[in-house]
Symmetry: C2
Subunit: 98 residues, 2 copies
């Protein structure tokens, strides 16, 4: 129980951008800011990276005025495909703070 | 003539990522580093942003060892479409330094 709570807490200020429409993730960010979170990590891998930048920019410019891009980190993850091949995929972590 | 030279100089340390294959832009970065440039701006807009991150990561990890991500800036440009509509497009500017 305590561990479950801890896990929830750890993911509280993160938004993982994937295949849903951009505005779903913008809404997730706005909801977190309105719930009292002051710093959100917007994360994505591969082709979703462009969408993560859109999410950060739309949230900042249209919905959470005063929010700023605190940092942008890029990196590489090695993932194993279904065939057992190892491939590299780029990652982004945008920290948005108000 | 002097102005032309100035313009060339200004674009010397920039790589604009667009529709070509990723490795074309990696090659452009490697060529600039080998030509004596110590700091390259990798820029992209919209869906090419993911590719720009790939270009920076592949250049840094495979071809220009010792090169580091100095900064990553994201922003929004307003562009006018053929129909005269104004739309917002996200941008990225990755500074890679060796």
């Amino acid at each position: 129980m305590a561990e479950e709570k801890k896990k929830e807490k750890a993911e509280e200020n993160m938004v993982f951008v994937g295949k849903k429409p951009t505005m779903s993730y913008v809404l997730a960010c706005v909801t977190q800011f309105n719930g009292g979170i002051n710093e959100i990590h917007i994360k994505a891998r591969g082709k979703s990276i462009s969408k993560a930048v859109d999410v950060a920019e739309i949230t900042r410019n249209k919905f959470a005025e005063g929010a700023k891009i605190k940092s942008v980190d890029i990196g590489t993850d090695e993932i194993t495909t279904e065939n057992g091949d190892k491939i590299n995929v780029s990652t982004i972590d945008i920290t948005l703070a108000k």
